[in-house]
Amino acid sequence: MSGFLAALLLGAGWNAMLVTLGTALLGLAAGAVGTVMVLRRRALLSDAMAHATLPGLGAAFLLMAALGGSGRALPGLMAGAALTAFLALLAVEWLGARTRIPEDAAIGATLSVAFGLGLVLLTVIQVAGLGEPAGLESFLLGSTAGMLRADVLAIALGAAAALSALWVLRRPMTLLAFDEGFAAAAGLPVRLLDRVAMTLVLFVTVAGMRVVGLVLIVALLILPPVAARFWTDRAGRMTVLAGLFGALSGWIGTALSAAAPDLPAGPMVVLAAATLMAASLLLAPGRGALARMRAARARQPTLDRREGELWAALRLADPASPLIERDDGHTALSALLPPDRLARLLAGGER
């Protein structure tokens, strides 16, 4: 426990501190960028892109090895990963726009085929005698071992770039996510905006696949926004809150993993985000499950059935008598009586 506290307060050594800061920054960027994807209803598209980094990693490894390099050079691997993730995006868009396959099926097919190709390439690396692709497999579930200052710096730069792009484009992005038709009619460059959003996802994915792993990075894009949605009804606040939740998840997850080396960092970060999400789902005031249950109980109609019928009789006697207006636009009567009975009462067929 004290180890966890020390790690939480950045006191568990230089390396643990680096990892904690880097992952928190990653979570910040992922939460904010993920909000755009969740609001645009394309959360799973980022999953397809994340899985589609695998063939890029394999291909880059093969290419670099064939050119006489080490195969594990990180910039090359990242470039390969970004390239195939982008190709997967194009594939999903093409299937969705040019054919009648619904987008979710296009995402599932692209994701699995790209990942399958990645697996084939991994085994090719093995059988071609280019050495164990052991370094590559750590990209699947991430690994914070050997994270350097340069890595944290790269993540910080990427996060800063992504967050500033988001801030500049916050209005058109929100407008597009809410009402694509209006946005397009108003002359906003819809395709370009979507491409920019996907590029930000790509940034987060490529920066995060080393830490959290490409299988789970999408969790960091989805869980914080979903958690944030329970606390606010404003897109802007939701984005900020999601970034904070993401940073908090990164921080707590890596601290836990630093304290108990058995616990892998990536999945722990995801579990921290999931805990925040579950807590928000249950406890958030207003939209949380408990608050909503309480509100539903309080909203039980105060008039009993008998009184409802009296109301109806009154209404018959004096059609101009006011009905109780409720928030949801129904009248109190319509809430109290079954519709067919209400109709009969109001029609005078039953007194």
């Binding site: 969740v38 209803r41 394309r42 959360a43 799973l44 999953d47 299937l95 040019r98 054919t99 009648r100 396959i101 619904p102 979710d104 099926a105 296009a106 995402i107 599932g108 097919a109 994701l111 699995s112 085929v113 790209a114 990942f115 399958g116 190709l117 990645g118 697996l119 084939v120 991994l122 085994t123 090719v124 093995q126 059988v127 071609a128 497999e137 699947l140 579930l141 299988v215 789970l216 999408v218 969790a219 894009l221 989805i222 869980l223 979903v226 949605r229 329970f230 058995d262 616990l263 892998p264 999945p267 722990m268 995801v270 579990l271 999931a274 999400m277 789902l281 939209r287 499950a289 909503r292």
Partner: protein
């Protein structure tokens, strides 16, 4: 040669084909009902189910594993629905939130309990081990008629075949309500049918197929076969039942061709090793889908349903 084929290649081929077809068939209806990512979700949550079942019972027996996985799959479906309704968010985000969380739980459990040393590991879960499904007792084609040798068949074969049979049977029994519920849920309800129940049966059937196939051949084939063959078939025909049959055919072709290419493809380049069969099967399905998307006679969205 025959003996080697029957020993090493026949069981994986048959299991692969059964798994592919069993996933592709319900995949058609999931695709039409906009639930195509269900296979993806189930494939992710099977891992924690397997680990938990192992941790609780200490057994790796197939019924325990499949029971645990099926439980996890059904739980995940319920959780997704709960998050979607309570959070009022799009189904994709709800799905992503749930299945990544459960997958992360699976990975952590694996590490914490030490189950990873025994039999379960993440890589196996993702990639499957189609190649290891070997029929040791076979000596040639004649073994197919030899009860003693047949008893030594990989148990996955029997299970997968049974699940495939069940899938076909249930889909056949439900063919009419399923078609109506998929095409027009409101109409189905108005005419006194139970589209909700039909949908639940479909989800349970899909989960059963996904779990059994996962255990035999790994996650990637499951996800690929739930989506790619039905999507390709959708682009080749405008008729529901033709699409279902075509998807089964495409799944079978992918399984056979993928397995053969993975085993023999590298030989053409002078490399005496096989590459991942599961990955290759997904790739073949993807190539067929790409072909259908480029040339399929029904690839375009129909113009007849444009509403004014």
């Amino acid at each position: 040669m025959d003996a080697v084929f029957v020993q090493l290649s026949l069981p994986p081929l048959v299991i692969g084909v059964c798994a592919a077809v069993a996933c592709a068939l319900p995949g058609n209806f999931l695709l039409l009902r906009r639930q195509a990512m269900l296979g993806d979700a189930v494939a992710h949550v099977v891992l924690p189910g397997l680990v938990l079942a192992f941790v609780v019972t200490g057994s790796l027996a197939a019924p325990v594993m499949i029971g645990g996985a099926l439980g996890a799959a059904l739980l995940s479906v319920a959780l997704i629905e709960a998050v979607r309704r309570l959070g009022r968010i799009e189904p994709g985000a709800a799905m992503g939130a749930v299945f990544t969380t459960l997958f992360a739980i699976g990975v952590v459990l694996l590490e914490v309990t030490g189950a990873s040393g025994v039999h379960l590991d993440v890589e196996h879960a993702l990639m499957g081990n189609l190649e290891s499904l070997i029929w040791f007792d076979a000596t040639g084609w004649a073994s197919l008629l030899d009860p003693a040798a047949l008893a030594g068949l990989p148990p996955q074969l029997g299970r997968m075949a049974a699940v495939l049979f069940m899938v076909i049977l249930v889909l056949w029994l439900l063919r009419r309500p399923l078609a109506v519920a998929t095409f027009d849920e409101g109409f189905a309800r108005a005419t006194g049918q139970r589209p909700g129940l039909v949908g639940m049966i479909l989800v349970a059937l899909s989960a059963a197929a996904a779990v059994t196939a996962f255990e035999a051949v790994g996650a990637i084939i499951v996800i690929a076969m739930f989506t790619a063959p039905p999507a390709a078939a959708r682009l080749l025909t405008g008729r529901l039942w033709t699409q279902v049959r075509l998807s089964a055919l495409i799944a079978a072709i992918s399984a056979i061709l993928g397995y053969v290419l993975a085993g023999h493809g590298p030989l053409w380049f002078g490399i005496p090793h096989a590459v991942s069969a599961a990955g290759m099967i997904a790739v073949v399905a993807g190539i067929i889908l790409a072909g259908a998307a480029a040339f399929g006679p029904h690839r375009r969205r129909s113009g007849a349903f444009v509403t004014s």
